[in-house]
């Protein structure tokens, strides 16, 4: 990894927290990180100084958008589903609150050299890394189709935004509140055929990634899956996020989601052994 691509550990600052549907979009001033960002990488946030807190575990977040320049300097935008103690605190932080940011971390999405047809499959807030990917793919001349899924409209991320970059956008919700009632599994076969996708990029829960990887394989397409899993440190230190894969030598191994992923080739992951926690 060349030095200007390596991760940084910087003092950041909360610029804004916006509620959009069921999620919060948190924009953080994080000098240097936006410039090094590649789609599929993530950041680790720490809210307190270790000496002052009873809660030490940092949290990992997908980078949804970067703005390398702006009146506040380089910023990154994260999509947060507030549920845990940490995320509830994060989304309640006032503007200007200090946060420490480590990143960009992890292996990004591999992008095709040729202008091929790409299908992007995302579910819920974890679809976040697909949006900057869609922009980069379009810049490379790829044809981009997007399939977005969620339980309901409130949990659907960025359908409007996707329409600006993608040739076609399909939305499925479990309750039918927007788009077609159904799931990723229902929609994938037809979309793969219609888009004639050469590459499938997927981000979402494990079941969605598994479905996308399996459907891609059936259609003879490559797949790149962004695995979201609990990462105790996020920086490759603790071995707390094991992922069962088949390595390039054909041998099964346990690798770290945070450092050897989070983006994996879909056909390399032993999906049935991945723990969804």
């Amino acid at each position: 990894m060349s030095p200007d691509r390596g991760p940084l550990h910087v003092a950041g600052e909360v610029l804004s927290v916006k509620r959009i549907g069921a999620h919060h979009h948190v924009t953080v001033v994080a000098p240097g990180i936006a410039e090094r960002f590649r789609p599929g990488t993530f950041v680790v946030l720490t809210l307190d100084d270790a000496a002052d807190t009873a809660r030490l575990q940092p949290r990992s977040f997908w980078i949804h958008r970067v703005r390398p320049t702006g009146s506040h300097g380089a910023t990154i935008e994260l999509v947060v589903a507030a549920g845990s103690r940490f995320t509830r605190r994060l989304v309640a932080l006032p503007q200007g609150s200090p946060v420490r940011v480590t990143g960009p971390l992890g292996r990004p999405f591999a992008q095709p050299r040729e202008p091929v047809s790409c299908l992007l499959v995302g579910e819920g807030y974890a679809a976040a890394p697909l949006f900057p990917l869609a922009e980069r793919l379009r810049e490379r001349g790829c044809t981009v189709s997007v399939l977005l899924a969620a339980p309901d409209e409130a949990h659907l991320l960025g359908a409007l935004e996707a329409r600006r970059t993608a040739r076609s956008v399909t939305v499925v919700t479990a309750d039918g509140s927007v788009g077609v009632r159904g799931t990723v599994v229902d929609a994938l076969p037809e979309l793969l055929t219609r888009s004639a996708a050469d590459v499938v990029y997927a981000a979402g829960p494990v079941a969605t990634l598994h479905a996308a990887a399996a459907a891609a394989e059936q259609h003879g397409a490559w797949s790149q899956t962004a695995l979201e899993t609990a990462q105790p440190c996020g920086t490759g230190l603790c071995q707390g996020c094991p992922v069962p894969v088949v390595a390039e030598d054909g041998v099964g191994r346990l690798v770290r989601a945070c450092t050897d992923g989070p983006v994996f080739r879909g056909d390399r992951v032993r999906w049935l052994e991945v723990d969804a926690r």
Binding site: H9, A51, Q57, C233, L237, G240
Partner: protein, 278 residues
């Protein structure tokens, strides 16, 4: 002691990266986490590769972490081929943590590491708190811990130090430390993670600031009661103040572990602050 093993740390600072909290070293280095560090203790290496335990493996706990990684590691062959060379090329002082199923395995590991260029020390992880039932040699009794030290010491070259990290049982630490010293340990590492349970009932270790005061007591007691045996402190160290407190009660060096999960630069920052003291 008849041997003079030399200082336990490199020339930089009396701050080391503790076992199991530094990845392979590369990940910390990418964030500047090894800058000015006196040494790096690897995660525990066993003779054969181990897959480790199920998830969750690391769980937040008040002022600390519970861990049950289960000694996931590439085995001695994988370590020597894939991880040690980078650490050596980085120029950092390397201590290799090991654990084994028998005295014979301990001796084998010691022999192979002892003749590997760049290994400055071996740290015996005598009683990993998260590996109960993992088939390891039972070294909870001071006598058995001393047998492990003896088995590894026998074939270890003079230039390689032998550190022993016993069970964190405060009641018998002085007795254990004496036995380890007599068997040939160059230093004792205090304290290991405390015995704890994961939420699902699996054996775990407890680490982090929650165990800091206990580590301080253990270091104090052993340093004062077994003055010939150098003590390397570990347990809940977050910043330079914690390092100073442990040095003040007699530690010769201090390891930073779980604080790195919160801030990967914690050890480097503590080392930099201490250099400013000098």
């Amino acid at each position: 002691m008849s041997r003079d093993p030399g200082p336990v740390t490199g020339s930089d600072a009396p701050v080391l990266v503790a076992s199991g909290c530094g990845g392979t070293g590369r990940e910390l280095d990418a964030l500047g986490g090894l800058d000015g560090i006196g040494g790096f203790v690897t995660r525990t290496i066993t003779l054969d590769a181990r897959d480790g335990g199920p998830r969750p493996r690391v769980v937040e706990s008040p002022s600390g972490f519970r861990y049950a990684v289960g000694l996931q590691n590439p085995g001695i062959d994988g370590f020597l081929a894939l991880e040690l060379p980078w650490l050596v090329s980085r120029g950092i002082r390397v201590a290799v943590s090991i654990s084994a199923a028998s005295l014979g395995e301990y001796a084998d590991l010691g022999r192979r590491l002892g003749r590997s260029p760049g290994v400055a020390a071996i740290e015996l992880n005598l009683v990993p708190p998260d590996a109960a039932g993992a088939g390891l040699f039972d070294a909870r009794e001071p006598f058995q811990a001393a047998r492990v030290v003896g088995a590894v010491r026998r074939d270890l070259p003079a230039g390689v130090q032998l550190w022993a990290k016993p069970s964190a049982d405060p009641g018998r630490l002085a007795e254990t430390a004496r036995a380890l010293a007599e068997a040939g340990a160059d230093a004792v590492v205090l304290v290991n993670g405390l015995p704890a349970l994961m939420p699902d009932g699996r054996p775990a270790g407890l680490a982090g600031p929650a165990i800091g005061p206990l580590a301080l007591r253990c270091v104090h007691d052993v340093a004062s009661q077994v003055p010939d045996l150098p003590v390397i402190a570990a347990g809940g160290v977050v910043d330079a103040d914690d390092v100073r407190a442990l040095l003040d009660v007699g530690a010769v060096a201090v390891q930073v572990g779980s604080a790195l999960l919160h801030d990967p630069t914690a050890a480097a920052r503590a080392a930099a602050t201490l250099r400013g003291d000098a």
